[in-house]
Every structure is written in structure tokens, then in C-alpha cells.
Amino acid sequence: MALSLRDSVHLVSDPRNLDASVDEVFHLMLGVRCMRDSFPLAQEPESVTAVVGFGGLLSGACVFSTGGLAAMKIAARMTGMEFDQIDDTVKDAIGEICNMLAGSWKGKLPDLAAHCGLSVPAVITGRDYHLHVQAPEFQLHHIYRFEDAGFVVTIVCDGLQ
């Protein structure tokens, strides 16, 4: 019988897996603990969004989005450097954070870890865009904060075999 995740959609979409992945990535790579929050992030003139696609048993994307100041803070924590603008290193850092979050999230379920591939990260700067998926199987959209920085992680699944 072909492997399917259809019967385990409740496990795949368990929001605690995303919380655990965020905690793992930020604790190990930045040395900070993140708190889940329900208040939307304040609008900033600049924002940085990274997208890593999923393919295989699950198709969709992991989207990491944050304001420019938080992006520079995250990059500074990761590299030990200081930033006063969103340069290629900051974009690279945000792409890697998204990549690790996507990998950690899919790694929570062995079947997903083994049969779902990741794309290389794409990074978008700018504010006026919308993420639109026609008919998602499920979507997780969580806001987190550490110190005075906030970010949003979205897992969107548009196909589950």
C-alpha cells in the first residue's frame, strides 16, 4: 500500500510541532527563547520574508516574515556582526532560519521527514504582497517574540498525499 499522510493530518498540522521547531532553531542558533504571541507585528517600512517550499508527500511552503529591525537583529545574533541595513548577509540569515524551521518542522514526523523534500530558500524584501493559496489543506500562522523583536511563521499545506 502506498504511504499516505492523509490519516495523520491531525499530527502533521499539530501547532505544537511548529512551536517546538521555533524554540529549537532560535535556542540553538541564536541562544534566545521565543514566546508565542497573539498581537500582530507593528508595521515597519521594510520587511524580510523567506520561503522554503515542501514537495513530496506534502506540498506547500514554510514562510518566515519579519520587520527589517528584527531581521538585522536575528542576523547579528547568528553571525556576531552588526548590521545597519538589510544587506545580502541579513537576507541569507533569514533564508537559513526559514530553511532550518522547515527542516525541523518536517522532521517532527518520520514519514514527513523521509518523504518530503525542501527547496532552497527564496527571500523577498518589501511590504505589499499577499500569500494566497487556493484551497489549503491546512495552514498554521503563528506570531512569536523574543526580546523586542517579533516574527511570523506560516506553514501552508496545499497538497497532502
Binding site: 540553538l28 542576523a75 553571525t79 545580502d88 533564508g95 530553511n99 532550518m100 525541523s104 521527514a113 525542501l118
Partner: protein, 127 residues
């Protein structure tokens, strides 16, 4: 003490910095680091330079880490040099593929400097 010549292959410059920092924190000193941002570039570095250790990402554009590993074994570049894969892919299947392609170690991102030390130092001692 003899310097440890290391090749770090990752398409992310930030991850290359973090891996280098982790190696230094693991006590690898003096450390000489060569960098490559794809498997193709990694092979070019190995044609020009000798190294004692290779750390490579898997998921990269142009040539991924597994193909890089197969090519370097097939072309007999860096014979006997330990290769450690550092990647977000963590399933047993991915580990098996890496071992079959010739990797001696596997580190999952995100990682700590301590994990890098635990995986790398025994390989360097044995090499």
C-alpha cells in the same frame, strides 16, 4: 601544531561563518578555512588544494552535497579525508544516502558547537 585545513561547502555565507565559528569553538586551532558555495565550487577547491576535513551542506543549487560527495569519491579527490554532512534533512533515509555516498559523519541543522566537536574530533583523530 599543524594547521587543520578545512573545506566548508554551503550556499549560505552565514552558515559557512557559523560552521567555522563552531570549529574554532571546538578547539580546532590553528584552522585554515576554504569556502565553496556549491558542490561544483567545492570540487574546484579540492583540485587546487589539500584539506584535512570537509563539511558540506546537502541542499544546494548547481550541485547538491550528495552529488559533490559522489564526484569527489569518483574523481579520487581528497582520498582518506573525512566528510561530514551538515543539513536540515534528518531522516534515516537521508543519513543512509549520505553514508552510501561516502560521508563519515552527519550533523543536523540547527546544531551546537558541542555537537560539531563530538562529530568532528574523533574523525580527525582517526584520519
Amino acid at each position: 601544531m599543524r594547521e587543520i585545513r578545512t573545506l566548508i561547502v554551503d550556499d549560505s555565507s552565514v552558515m559557512r561563518k557559523i560552521v567555522e565559528r563552531s570549529l574554532r569553538q571546538a578547539g580546532l586551532d590553528p584552522l585554515v578555512v576554504h569556502e565553496a558555495c556549491s558542490g561544483t565550487e567545492g570540487l574546484e577547491v579540492l583540485r587546487a588544494r589539500q584539506v584535512d576535513l570537509i563539511l558540506s551542506d546537502i541542499n544546494m543549487p548547481l550541485m547538491d552535497g550528495l552529488e559533490f560527495l559522489r564526484q569527489l569519491r569518483a574523481q579520487d579527490l581528497a582520498p582518506g579525508v573525512p566528510v561530514v554532512m551538515i543539513t536540515t534533512e534528518s531522516s534515516e533515509e537521508h543519513v543512509k544516502q549520505a553514508i552510501l555516498a561516502g560521508a563519515q559523519g552527519y550533523i543536523r541543522k540547527p546544531f551546537t558547537a558541542e555537537q560539531v566537536k563530538e562529530r568532528v574530533l574523533p574523525l580527525l583523530r582517526a584520519a
